[in-house]
């Protein structure tokens, strides 16, 4: 079910496991679904030159980003036979171990969800203007770059 107007994909701070569990629960009334696939991005406590990442502070060009999320959503509904799709991304501070990206796709059949989820996550990484400042435990920082 695609819709025309871009939604706000961003959530302030980390995405909680309760929110994810609840989102799964809400899909149990949709009995044409046979397969769900969920991607979660979690902030890693990477060690770089002896310093450990404590958090990532996310900012975005929000209007453009929401438009890009919308375009990705429309393209995915076009390409794949999906019943539902949900995307949530954090803004602000997300600590190491916390979740910053939640992508949820559902379809009658499993082959579709594998393809669709990977397509969506790769498109988000490549096309959406979100910026991440990796804050080290000593409060110094560096800028994260997707590969």
């Amino acid at each position: 079910m695609s819709d025309k107007k871009p939604k706000n994909v961003f959530r302030e701070g980390a995405i909680s496991s309760d929110f994810i569990g609840n989102s799964i629960y809400k899909h149990q009334t949709k009995t044409s679904i046979g397969a769900h696939n969920i991607f979660l991005g979690q902030v890693r406590a990477d060690e770089i030159d002896g310093k450990t990442v404590a958090a990532i502070e996310y900012t975005a060009y929000e209007d453009m980003a929401n438009q890009k999320f919308h375009d990705i959503r429309e393209a995915a509904f076009e390409k794949f036979e999906l019943t539902c799709m949900h995307i949530y991304h954090s803004l602000g501070t997300v600590k190491a171990g916390e979740i910053c990206l939640f992508v949820f796709v559902s379809s009658p059949r499993r082959k579709v969800v594998f393809e669709a989820l990977e397509y969506i996550v790769e498109a988000i990484k490549a096309d959406v203007p979100v910026f991440g400042k990796e804050i080290f435990e000593d409060t110094s920082h560096q800028w994260k770059v997707n590969n």
């Binding site: 990532i56 996310y58 910053c100 990206l101 990484k125 910026f131 991440g132 770059v145």
Partner: protein
Amino acid sequence: MHITVKYFGQIVEVTNTQEETIEVVGSHISDLVGVLNSKYDQLEKKDFQIAQNQELVSLETELIGLEIALLPPFAGG
């Protein structure tokens, strides 16, 4: 032409502002970038893409007077 320019991520560390209005003589993105490079001498060292009216553009694209954004490498997810 007066152009609203927005800065994001590490670009803000060079401009020390998130948004400003820039006066440009000339009609292409490259003319705007010329003005910004003379204003901020650290900008040339930075890696960024440019969006006009929320679409990525190249240096050869014409300025249409709508919002410009300087976007450093994406780091979503």
